[in-house]
Symmetry: none
Subunit: 228 residues, 4 copies
DNA sequence: TATGAATGAGCTTTCATTCAT
DNA sequence: CATGAATGAAAGCTCATTCAT
């Protein structure tokens, strides 16, 4: 939806503007974001902005599209689960995508979370494409597959579980980033092959364990809990 | 921090203004909230607003205090866990509190979530009281207790688990509200004794199960997952 | 012009309000003075103000009347000049009055100067009484007397001289106050019998000398100045 | 301190705004001056004002700079005194500068007097340049020179005299303007060569006489005055 | 196409004044 | 008479948007 002039810009300038906009939308909702701030930070003329975009919302939608595009790039590498064990490998990959996205585009990731906050799941149907922007669709699919493969406990409410997985997947990656930075005492460097970072491996594995097996020590705990 | 004049108002007028402000802050950050909108919706003169509050932030802080106060009312009814089983009953109560808060004050609940969004967990220390506004503290305590009572699996990373529980507890209640409204086709009536609503019971129980036992059907799954 | 209610107040309260108003009008013109500031500083209710005065200008006029009244008290002690020497003693007394007024009511004195600034001499006819508020009238009278008594040089332009004396008399006293405070290192205590303070005596005498004899060392200087 | 945009304006528009501002600050202190009045009188949009200036104070400081700049233009033509007689010629020139400034920029002159009123001599150090805006410095210098050249009576308190000369020089010019307008019945036209206007010549000469020789007819008067 | 000055609606905030208690 | 809440006009200032160059 940006005007043609925007796409005729040199890549470096276009990306400059995009990055400045991402910064703005990471810290501000569409309502409180400021055209002034963007043109000042990007060092472009006020008038130029309106030669690239209809208005602020136009730019915002473009940034949201960036979110989708860049995430799809990562998702495209994801194979479908083929057998029993792959059910949870698939879940692991879904989480790895979120982590990779957070590590590669932490600010863009925050833009996405902000969008999801302002447009809660039940109303998050993209009016243009008709698709959900949030990851729920994928988690529903994952759970359906898992039920078919007999990997998911039958008593699980799949809609609830999909929601929980969505929330957890959305909020796990910033926690990971934060904690890694805290533990190492320095900002995290991006390494797309996240599975090779032992820190990431450990935490992701622990999360997977929690999701797969819960936090109770004794598997009997459930029965006891309700029998009491 | 509001001025005395605000507290001298009749209860009905004070609550009118509070409710209008809650509406505003549920849908807007402090940055994008508008004094104009509030005075118009509350039907008060613009000048009156400034006889009640220093400025918008003053009112915002007051609303945040309402969040804390009203949640504390609910929390105050919560007994500490005494024995084995009580560990998870305690967790259940923590979730029930969030549910009760959401059902009783759904908009105020959204104000709180918005605040937590804008002030992420790692920086959410209330500068005035020094306390965390988010529930993490409680979840850390819960997990510590659980570990002591040998109810929590030893391999669980408690900081991660506390974070996950915090996120889930924060986002479960709006899902519950949404889903109940959807299923019944009408807005949910508040009933503080949430445990008596079968819908709530079922969903909360399912969430508890997921948290306690995970979603994997076979307890062996974890070993297989990593052995592969 | 204040309402009767104002004059029915206890003396202590009335003077409190007057003093607060004097402070306000010493530092602000009528345009920039603030009713809010006055009621806050005086600790009276906003509504009370409007039960005492029509509006701010009403109070301002009252304060201007205080200026006149209090100065007249001092002036009333001034005898008319009777012989040769008394011409300059009279001038000395005029200056002493200004000094006494400054020492006794420094802030009121500043109110008067501010008034004279905003209402320059040529337009300073008091619309109510038809009299001039500034001292010019007295200096004109003094000079007329001096000419009659053959004490004033005949070449002196009396209108100019009256103006110069007016300006000097108006601005000498704050200089005196400032310099005394500076020299002694502490605020000046009021002593109505100003002639007994050696500092005041010295400076006033020096000013009298300057006015009487000018600053040139050689009386011939004037002739040389123009003959050249 | 005004923004670049202001200096990029056409000279005619810039001067229009400056003149309107001078009018405003001639009649109002910074406190009571009004952005609204200025934009209305200048016929510019409110938003434009804030593209030229940070705020009202920014414009005010610019106008104060105009005062300094334009006066310096006139002062720059002033030679230092070289011999006996030149002492008083120097004083005469100082007064002529004030007169010329008043005649050429009467409203700007009033802005300066207002500034000096609000920022009395003892605290009138310009916080930016560290220089005094008022002419006192020059009068102190003049008197020092005069003492060195044996032109100033030794009994004169030079600090007092400098103050008196400062006050008189500041207030003489508006008097002159006023009186000339009154006497001739029409507004005074500016003529930079003020020494050629007989009216100005006469009054300035008379003032010089008063300053040099005082107003007493008999040089003996001083001795008699104090001997009595 | 790039620029940045121009614009006025709209924002937050202050203020003098009124008025019910 | 004292009080202080209520009011809305008007202030200073910001902003998205337009437009001439």
């Amino acid at each position: 939806m940006p005007k043609d002039t925007f796409f005729h810009l040199s890549q470096v300038k276009r990306q400059l503007i995009e990055n400045v906009a991402i910064e703005e939308f990471a810290d501000n909702s569409l309502q409180s974001a400021s055209v002034n701030a963007i043109v000042n930070n990007a060092g472009i003329a006020k008038g130029s902005f309106y030669q690239y975009f209809e208005n602020l919302e136009d730019l915002y939608k473009h940034i949201l599209k960036l979110v989708k595009d860049r995430k799809l790039e990562l998702i495209s590498t994801l194979p479908l689960p083929a057998n029993n064990l792959d059910t949870f490998r698939y879940l692991q990959r879904l989480l790895q995508i979120e982590i990779a996205f957070e590590l590669k585009y932490p600010r863009l990731s925050r833009v996405e979370r902000r969008y999801n906050f302002e447009n809660p799941v039940n109303s998050s149907i993209d009016p243009e494409t008709g698709q959900r922007l949030s990851g729920d669709g994928r988690f529903h699919a994952f759970l359906s597959q898992g039920v078919l493969h007999d990997d998911i406990a039958t008593w699980v409410d799949t809609d609830l579980a999909a929601y929980v997985l969505g929330v957890v997947s959305q909020w796990f990656s910033p926690y990971l980033l934060e904690r890694m930075g805290q533990d190492s005492g320095k900002p995290v460097e991006f390494n797309l092959d996240v599975s090779h970072d032992p820190h990431v491996q450990d935490l992701l594995q622990n999360l997977m364990d929690i999701l797969m097996a819960g936090i109770a020590r004794d598997p009997q705990i459930r029965k006891d809990f309700y029998s009491k």
